[in-house]
């Protein structure tokens, strides 16, 4: 029996370099990211928010769920490379790159109406879409 593959509705992904949010205050960063997500767009941010900003992102998302019609929230995942397994030279390279401002992490934020789930493990993120 041949299984029918259902088509996925279209979606848009926006890549955002860290420089776009680097000089913004915490509140402005979160607003910028959520404004994109509110348009039904998946954001892939180079780098990551601070851990406090991540908590505030959840708070602001919940406030929006309450006040914006048809907005159900977000799916969020941060992929942060683990440098613990690297050798000494590798660790030094990582440290130097970080000190020079390199952003190793990737943050993905998608509207819950489009992204069903983000399956995360230490090495990868899988994005499961709503059909």
């Amino acid at each position: 029996m041949v299984k029918k593959i259902r088509k996925i509705k279209g979606f848009t992904i926006q890549f955002l370099p860290y420089t776009e949010i680097e000089n913004l205050k915490s509140g402005e960063r979160i607003r910028k990211l959520l404004n994109v997500v509110l348009k039904g767009i998946i954001v892939i941010l180079q780098g990551r928010l601070t851990i406090e900003e991540e908590a505030r992102l959840i708070e602001d998302t919940m406030a929006m769920v309450e006040h914006v019609k048809n907005f159900k929230g977000v799916e969020l995942a941060v992929l942060n490379p683990n440098s613990n397994n690297l050798g000494l030279v590798g660790k030094m390279k990582h440290g130097l790159a970080k000190a020079l401002g390199a952003q190793e992490a990737i943050t993905i934020i998608g509207p819950a109406s489009i992204v069903r789930e983000m399956k995360r493990d230490p090495k990868k993120i899988e994005i499961l879409m709503n059909r």
Partner: protein, 213 residues
């Protein structure tokens, strides 16, 4: 934010001088349906004979922060008094239609969703008032969810001691080792709050946690 962290740190340093006399605020945090209230109820039942709140299969049953004060735990000759703070499950999305799958009427589901969103905001705000936190994770689910990581990261940033509970070990799909692998820097205890399994180890770890607070 920084002021709050400093104020919390100073409060904990000063109150640490009077250790033994005071009541430790012990928070229960985690995603929805992980078993936070079930565990808080188990502790309350064990030591006060009363429960802290209602549990349900429907997510977001706890939608407001609930407390039980002066819970005195007397375990193996050691005594500690806690204020247990059970918080609503932290989530990044809430859809009232998910509640309707549990045969809930649309209006009730919408009301529940509205209360649940406020509950998440309150739970995050309460982080600053905790002396120690138990993060309850459903051991049958993927522990690498961003909610778990964000909660634990925020506790570490606030210098609040953390104990991770891998709950629901009575279920076949439970994988405590996976939770341990996800959070290698923390104490992880596998329990079943519902069946009261491995509570001895839990209380031992809770006392160790209280010492760090």
């Amino acid at each position: 934010m920084v002021i709050k962290i400093i104020a919390n740190f100073v409060r904990r340093i000063f109150s640490g001088m009077f250790k033994g006399k005071r009541e430790l605020s012990l928070g229960f945090y985690g995603p929805p349906n992980a078993g936070k209230t079930t565990l808080a109820n188990k502790i309350c039942k064990d030591w006060t004979g009363e429960e802290i709140g209602k549990v349900s299969k429907i997510p977001h049953e706890t939608r407001a922060v609930q407390f039980k004060e002066k819970v005195e735990i007397d375990f193996k000759g050691k005594k500690l008094t806690f204020k247990l703070v059970d918080t609503p499950g932290i989530a990044t999305k809430i859809d009232y239609e998910d509640f309707m799958k549990f045969k809930m009427k649309k209006r009730d589901a919408q009301k529940r969703a509205k209360q649940a969103t406020q509950g998440v905001v309150d739970a995050i705000k309460w982080l600053d008032d905790m002396d120690a936190v138990i993060v309850v994770i459903d051991a049958t689910k993927n522990p690498y969810s961003q909610v778990n990581i964000t909660i634990i990261g925020n506790l570490v940033a606030r210098k609040i001691p953390v104990l991770i509970i891998a709950n629901k070990v009575d279920l076949r799909k439970a994988d405590v080792k996976k939770v341990e692998a996800a959070f290698p820097e923390y104490d992880v205890v596998g329990i079943s709050a519902k069946k009261g399994k491995n509570m001895e180890e839990f209380y031992e770890s809770a006392f160790r946690l209280a010492k760090k607070a």
